[in-house]
């Protein structure tokens, strides 16, 4: 394999039910920094059906080029046609880096693609960088239960492939003055055949918690002592216009459903404010929230690890602090209400 024949950074765009999903824009934020550092183009490839009127948005969000493959068989993710089409595109255009989001789709298609292309793939990265001289992609991820971080490279194979966790980065601001090229690719019908068939979809609202899309996350841990005390956090979250998260301990105790778990084996979040209440700050928990813009912790243990990642911390009893905080926020809300 001649590595120098591979140039450019690619991201895998994602659509759900025919709408481009925000993970596509998060990936472009990652891809943009890599491409700029290497001085190459950033392209997104997106597969789906009836996407034409939406793809311009990918350019506004950072892509220089968009490869679109539009076909009814691609409307929903399906391994066979996705793998065939993506393999063909990679072989034709030879990107040096190809990244996807670690969604169920990304985590399924990327290993299939890497096995077909016989190249390296690193799952669930929390950091991506490039070494400009060697042009190696530096892929950093938690390893061994999150106790250490490992940096991984793909020295002799291209593209270097990686998935990054959803919400591990914010999308770039939309820039409608950005110019780029949109390329619609066509393939032979045979490329779209699939051995598997989607028979239906059973929507389950409870499987999703709004925590990943929230601007403010109020998270509770073992320190809450009882599931009923989460009511306080829901109230606080509502006052702050946010959602409730939890540590694994709180989830394991059955205080709140798994969909609220933040951390290595739960969700990753990057809200504007992360409020950790009665959470010790184990590395596995930090893995899911340490990129939040502002972190505030309330914990009675002055040595709690969570304070080391906090912008603001109160060493105290949450059962005193939280009700007071709720009271103060209500007062402020009340005043604002009067003013209007």
């Amino acid at each position: 394999m001649k590595l120098e024949e591979y140039r450019g950074v690619w991201t895998l765009g994602e659509q759900r039910d025919g709408r481009i999903h925000t993970v596509s824009y998060e990936l472009l934020a990652w891809g943009r920094s890599l491409a700029d550092k290497l001085g190459v183009e950033l392209a997104t490839v997106i597969l789906g059906h009836n996407l034409a009127d939406q793809v311009q948005e990918l350019i506004y969000r950072g892509a220089d080029k968009v490869y679109v493959v539009d076909h009814p068989a691609l409307a929903h993710f399906s391994v066979d046609p996705y793998a065939r089409v993506l393999t063909a595109l990679v072989r034709e255009y030879r990107p040096e880096i190809f990244i996807a989001s670690a969604t169920t789709t990304g985590r399924t298609i990327m290993p299939v693609l890497a096995a077909k292309l016989r190249t390296g793939l690193t799952a669930d990265c929390t950091g991506l960088d490039v070494d400009v001289e060697s042009r190696q992609l530096l892929q950093t991820r938690p390893a061994i239960g999150g106790n250490v971080m490992a940096t991984i490279i793909t020295p002799n194979h291209r593209p270097a492939m990686a998935t990054v966790r959803p919400k591990s980065r914010r999308p770039l601001p939309r820039d409608a003055s950005r110019k780029g090229e949109i390329i619609f690719k066509r393939f032979d019908e045979k490329m779209f055949e699939s051995r598997t068939r989607r028979l239906g979809f059973i929507r389950d609202e409870t499987a999703e918690s709004p925590v990943q899309d929230a601007d403010v996350v109020v998270a509770g841990g073992k320190g809450l002592k009882d599931g009923r005390n989460f009511d306080m956090l829901f109230e606080l979250a509502e006052l702050l216009g946010g959602a409730v998260g939890a540590s694994r301990m709180a989830v394991d105790m059955g205080w709140i459903p798994y969909s609220h778990q933040i951390g290595l084996s739960g969700k990753t979040v990057t809200p504007r404010l992360y409020l950790a209440i009665g959470i010790s700050g184990a590395v596995q928990h930090l893995a899911g929230m340490s990129s939040s813009e502002v972190i505030v912790a309330i914990n009675k243990d002055p040595d709690a690890n969570i304070f080391k990642v906090s912008d603001f911390g109160i060493i105290g009893d949450l059962f005193e602090i939280v009700p007071l905080l709720i009271k103060r926020l209500r007062e402020i809300k009340g005043k604002e209400g009067e003013g209007k």
């Binding site: 399924t108 096995a115 799952a123 971080m149 979809f201 499987a207 972190i295 603001f312 911390g313």
Partner: protein, 281 residues
């Protein structure tokens, strides 16, 4: 690749034993893992190890399927790892699998997910054909979830990931639920296929005493790279496209304002002020 799985999928299965395989990995039981600073790979000796907790769901589902088929199925456990990984295979047998093999060879050491998947796919070719292969969602040490889809790809069979339920099976087809964002997708696939199962699929049983006795008495053959006719350039460090170049402890970066809450009112006032400064409220 043709023929590795016997006749094409449109055959009838009626009255025929289903052949099932389960992939299990042994993982470190503790968080205290040693890492080889030279290669960046884990030192697997001298530590307590267990069967990957998420693989128990794969084993359980295979055993349940056998029960559902009134015993008309055989379950083969396959694991790749050092000699001690035989224990993980025996654990699976104690839960109701029929036999097991351990793929173990110095030349396999240092394999990344692609090299591991290649070696496992070769073992499956050798030991198969199988109608259905089960894998866990991910391991607690590698944590990639890549091995299952890669094995299926190298065997050229369909992969169904995030499987939370087997709805129907028979006539050379399977219908499963996949737990994905926002709900469950119902998908049909021909057999043979590979399923990566999630926790929500079942509740793994504890081994019975007779199961444990059976596991102790069952001999687990060890296969070498030669036994599976592995291409040496595709296994071990040589066959691994990725390299770990650095291992480090995550550094903790923020130096915030930490106040004592002896005066809770004052502390909350200061917090409100801070949130205002940051434009959050």
């Amino acid at each position: 690749m043709e023929g590795a799985f016997g006749p094409p999928p449109d055959r009838r299965d009626v009255g025929r034993m289903m052949r099932l395989a389960v992939l299990v990995k042994q993982v470190p039981a503790t968080d205290k893992v040693k890492i080889d600073p030279e290669t960046g790979t884990m030192l697997r000796t001298e530590m307590e190890a267990v069967i990957n907790p998420l693989d128990l769901y794969a084993v359980e589902e295979a055993v349940r399927l056998k029960e559902r088929l009134s015993g008309e199925a055989e379950i083969t456990v396959i694991s790749m790892g050092p000699a001690m990984a035989i224990e993980a295979v025996k654990d699976a047998i104690s839960m109701g699998c029929d036999r097991g093999y351990l793929l173990s060879d110095r030349r396999l050491a240092g394999s990344d997910t692609l090299a591991t998947a290649y070696a496992l796919s070769q073992a499956i070719r050798k030991l198969g054909p199988f109608d259905l292969i089960f894998a866990g969602e991910r391991t607690t040490d590698g944590e990639t979830g890549q091995v299952g889809p890669a094995v299926a790809t190298l065997l050229d069979i369909p992969v169904l990931t995030y499987v939370s339920k087997i709805e129907e099976i028979g006539d050379g087809r399977i219908v499963v639920h996949r737990a994905i964002e926002g709900g469950h997708e119902v998908v049909e696939s021909p057999l043979p296929a590979l399923l990566c199962v999630v926790k929500e699929i079942n509740e793994p049983r504890l081994p019975t005493l007779s199961g444990k006795i059976k596991a102790r008495e069952t001999e687990v053959p060890v296969l070498t790279a030669d036994d599976i006719e592995a291409d040496e350039s595709m296994i071990g460090l040589k066959g691994s496209p990725t390299r770990v170049v650095k291992i480090f402890y995550p550094k903790i970066t923020r130096e915030g304002e930490i106040i004592r809450g002896d005066d809770p009112e004052g502390a909350v006032d200061r917090l409100i002020e801070f949130l205002r400064e940051r434009g959050i409220i």
